[in-house]
């Protein structure tokens, strides 16, 4: 027996695990240029090019693209895709209810909440007793704008690695909001510009401000209004929002106010309407001082919709997976951690997902 194991190890470079080896997980899911493909189910997960049948984890544009023939996703993700790409973004759509298993050809598919943004889901695929979870993007920190991540027991866990370095430790988001509000009190003659991605982060920042007791109108960039309206229609109360137009700023250029907009807008000529603005940016990248400095951010807000290092490693343990596939981000550090923890792991080279999207 010992002898066989060594031979196997030499041949395949991985520890001997008879169970998984017989299961052959790569026959259930494997990377293709279009995205992660499931041969027995005949579908792709988050494909980056138009395909026949797509399962989509969440509405961020690098995961949810227009032009597929059939799309299976949560109702919220379908709504968000329709808002962004128009009602005809796919020929047919089907809403997946969380926790309810559907069959796609030979494969059983179940969506579970991922805690990333409204509607975000992990996708469990089961086939011949083998369970693989494609988690998409996820986080474990509580978020008032979406359902909490649920660990799903599985054999193979596919994890993102956006913040997969031990330096990324996200503080509690409410603490960061506290720092923003303190700065607003300290500098009432300046406008605070909070850069936040249009889907998810912006609504979370606004909702957290409301939870912290901030009841003033919050000014938003035009690119945010459709998604904020949608969140509100789903029962996420964002309070009074006003467009950050030159007229609404008045003579004082939004002094004392909070303006939320996509980060790119703050480097744009759009930002000139604000009085001596304090540039804030809500992102997990803000943990690194040099990142904040490079972007000219004066008040970094470490608020992330991705799992930090501690959440990534805790989640891998929670799933009980004996094998981990690591994708988009800093794969090497998480693979190293898995090796040290005695869990088999490999980077899964998928193309087309943005490393920076937080």
């Amino acid at each position: 027996m010992i002898h066989v194991r060594n031979v196997f190890k030499r041949l395949f470079g991985a520890p001997w695990r008879p169970y998984l080896w017989t299961m052959q997980p790569h026959r259930l899911l494997c990377p293709r240029p279009e995205g992660l493909f499931c041969p027995p189910g005949g579908f792709f997960i988050d494909p980056v090019r138009p395909v026949d049948r797509a399962l989509v984890t969440h509405g961020h544009s690098d995961h949810a693209r227009a032009g597929h023939r059939a799309v299976l996703a949560t109702a919220e993700t379908l709504d968000i895709m329709a808002l962004r790409y128009g009602e005809d973004f796919a020929a047919t759509t089907e809403a997946a209810a969380l926790g309810r298993t559907v069959r796609v050809n030979d494969v059983a598919v179940t969506f579970y909440p991922a805690g990333h943004v409204l509607g975000s889901a992990q996708i469990l695929v089961e086939w011949n007793g083998l369970r693989i979870v494609a988690s998409g993007d996820y986080k474990r920190q509580r978020d008032p704008t979406c359902a909490l991540f649920e660990p799903v027991p599985c054999d193979v866990f596919i994890t993102e690695a956006t913040f997969a370095l031990p330096v990324f430790r996200h503080p509690d988001a409410s603490r960061e909001i506290g720092r923003l509000l303190k700065s607003v009190r300290q500098f009432p003659e300046r406008a605070h510009l909070a850069g936040a991605y249009a889907l998810g982060k912006a609504q979370r920042v606004i909702r957290l401000l409301r939870d912290a007791g901030y009841s003033e109108p919050i000014f938003i960039h035009g690119a945010l209004s459709k998604l904020c309206d949608y969140y509100a229609s789903r029962g996420i109360d964002l309070g009074r929002l006003e467009p950050a137009t030159v007229e609404s700023g008045g003579k004082n250029g939004f002094a004392g106010g909070i303006v939320v907009g996509p980060p790119s807008a703050f480097a744009d000529r759009w930002a000139r309407r604000f009085a001596d603005p304090v540039a804030c940016f809500a992102s997990g990248w803000m943990r690194i001082r040099q990142r904040a400095r490079q972007r000219g951010v004066e008040l970094p807000l470490i608020i992330s919709d991705h799992a930090d290092w501690d959440e990534l490693t805790a989640t891998i343990r929670d799933t009980g997976a004996s094998e981990v596939w690591v994708t988009h981000g800093r794969e090497e550090a998480l693979v190293r951690w898995c090796e040290l923890a005695g869990i088999s792991a490999k980077p899964l080279h998928l193309v087309g997902y943005e490393d920076e999207g937080d």
């Binding site: 001596d276 603005p277 972007r295």
Partner: protein
């Protein structure tokens, strides 16, 4: 500790002076003693904690985590203190730990010896969360580098206590961390501390620039003129055996100038310009003087190669008698008699420049006899020596700046109000043979233009970008196409850090030369010729 850590984090990213002052003053108001005083000492560089070597820190952390994961982390972050603060595993990150006071942390570290220092530091890191860990590591490894000078910290104290900054400067050298008496006075709970230090700093008198039409209203006969020497303004104080050399803002710089200190065998307070060279024959350039500046100590070789001396302007106190209320003319007479008794290699007199009228003086100002003269000073004969910058008694009338026509090469987005504008400009001049012209960057400027000109520059940058690197854009600049900027600057020094070999002092954009063909901008040789003067 939390408030201090938060203060450091905000200061390092706050570009504006007023923003920094507000953050500091608010911190002083909200923080109890002795923490606020220790924070102040940390910022002004007066807090002495036996140093923990960076290598020690690295050992501590790799004992606790996988070295490979640490290497990935350090490689990504690039700063050792920051990396360690982030990767250090401690229960404090999740739980609401008991707040550790800055005073307790500093106390524990100051009591630690070489042997138990690392263990004490590790124990503290275990009980602190990330921002506080960063602050404590920065404290023990030295150098906060948060862009706050001692001068700015004193201004923040003045803002907090609503007093003049001169009052703080005057007291400063008699005070010790944690400055409890000072804070009691500033918060209105105690008397003003008595000036305790021997050989104290006396706040200096400053001048105003000559503005349009200023001179027409003045009678030349009321004023004395002197050259404005381009060194650094200092105050040499020697009282009852204590000798100190202060910068204009009251920082004690004695340590870097043992040659001056040794020659101060007198009882007096002198105001003058610190220069290098052998007076009266040889006065070195500003770049020679820079060899002696910003050092804690100085080598024998540097001392003999760049000897320092003081060109005296004024006398504030002699043999215990305060002379500041005397008219300038009388102080000058005393100064002349006094300097005559001193070592002529270390102290000489700033000569009086005779002139008949403003026009004659203007000729002298425009074409001074020595490269290290940057204009003329005008002092009213009857003026007392008063701290600050009163309008009227003293004027500075500077030589016109040098100018060069350079080509815009790169632009970077600004901060705060200017964060949506490309407002920091790197410019270069031509070098190389005709037909193979190349631009060499020679400096960077971010002021000198009007708001309207900034909008034009911003548009030009956006319309002519050829490459982007983060917040920086590279702008098309070749002999056929580009924008010429007239750059004004105060002086030029040799530099090994810049590819061009030159570094400008106070460069600013004086004119946008939309009209000038790019190929006709200046060449590097033009600047090099200035160096050799």
């Amino acid at each position: 500790m939390k408030a201090f850590a938060e203060l450091l984090d905000r200061l390092v990213l706050t570009p504006s002076r007023n923003g920094k002052l507000k953050l500091l003053a608010d911190y002083f108001a909200a923080t109890p003693d002795p923490d606020r005083g220790l924070a102040l000492a940390a910022i002004t560089g007066d807090l002495d904690i036996p140093s923990v070597k960076p290598a020690m820190l690295r050992t501590l952390v790799t004992e606790r985590m996988d070295p490979v994961l640490f290497a990935y982390s350090y490689d990504y972050v690039g700063d050792l203190a920051e990396t360690v603060s982030l990767v250090w595993s401690s229960a404090a990150d999740e739980s609401a730990q008991k707040e550790i006071r800055l005073a307790d942390a500093v106390g524990a570290l100051q009591r630690a010896g070489r042997a138990d220092g690392p263990a004490i530091l590790a124990g503290l890191l275990d009980r602190l969360a990330i921002p506080e860990r960063f602050a404590i590591i920065k404290l023990v490894t030295g150098g906060l580098r948060i862009g706050v000078s001692a001068r700015l910290a004193k201004q923040a104290l003045a803002d907090f206590g609503e007093v003049e900054v001169a009052e703080i400067e005057e007291l400063w050298h008699g005070l010790k961390p944690p400055y409890t008496e000072l804070f009691r006075w500033l918060s209105g709970e105690g008397e003003k501390p008595q000036r305790a230090a021997a050989a104290p700093f006396r706040p200096v008198m400053l001048s105003n620039p000559v503005g349009d039409g200023d001179l027409e209203k003045l009678d030349p006969a009321d004023y004395v003129a002197e050259w404005k020497w381009d060194g650094i303004r200092v105050q040499a104080v020697s009282e009852k055996g204590v000798r100190r050399l202060y910068s204009r803002t009251g920082d004690d710089i004695s340590g870097a100038f043992p040659d001056i200190i040794e020659a101060m065998d007198f009882e007096a307070t002198l105001d003058g310009e610190l220069l290098v060279g052998n007076p009266p024959g040889h006065t070195g350039t500003f770049s020679d003087l820079q060899q002696r500046l910003n050092r804690k100590s100085v080598s024998a070789k540097t001392l003999s190669r760049y000897p320092a001396f003081i060109r005296c302007y004024d006398i504030l106190q002699e043999r215990g008698e305060d002379r500041r209320s005397l008219p300038f003319a009388q102080r000058r007479q005393r100064l002349e008699r006094f300097v005559a008794t001193l070592d002529p290699g270390r102290f000489d007199l700033s000569p009086i420049v005779p002139f008949l009228g403003w026009e004659a003086l203007e000729d002298l100002r425009k074409d001074p006899p020595h490269p290290i003269i940057e204009g003329v000073m005008l002092k009213r004969r009857d003026s007392a020596y008063v701290p600050g910058r009163p309008k009227g008694p003293w004027f500075k009338w500077k030589r016109d700046p040098h100018t060069v026509d350079a080509v815009l090469m790169y632009a970077q987005r600004g901060h705060g109000k200017r964060s949506s504008f490309y407002s920091d400009f790197t410019f270069g001049v031509w070098s190389g043979a005709e037909g193979a012209l190349q631009l060499v960057p020679v400096g960077k400027a971010y002021f000198g233009f009007t708001d309207a000109e900034l909008r034009q520059l911003d548009k030009y940058v956006r319309d002519n970008t050829i490459e982007r690197f983060g917040p920086v854009r590279s702008v098309r600049a070749d002999p056929e196409h580009g924008l010429v900027l007239e750059i004004a600057f105060e002086g030029l020094a040799r530099s090994q850090r810049h590819r061009s070999g030159v570094a400008m002092r106070f460069p600013r954009i004086s004119r946008l030369r939309w009209d000038k063909p790019v190929a006709e901008a200046d060449r590097l040789e033009t600047l090099q010729a200035l160096l050799d003067r």
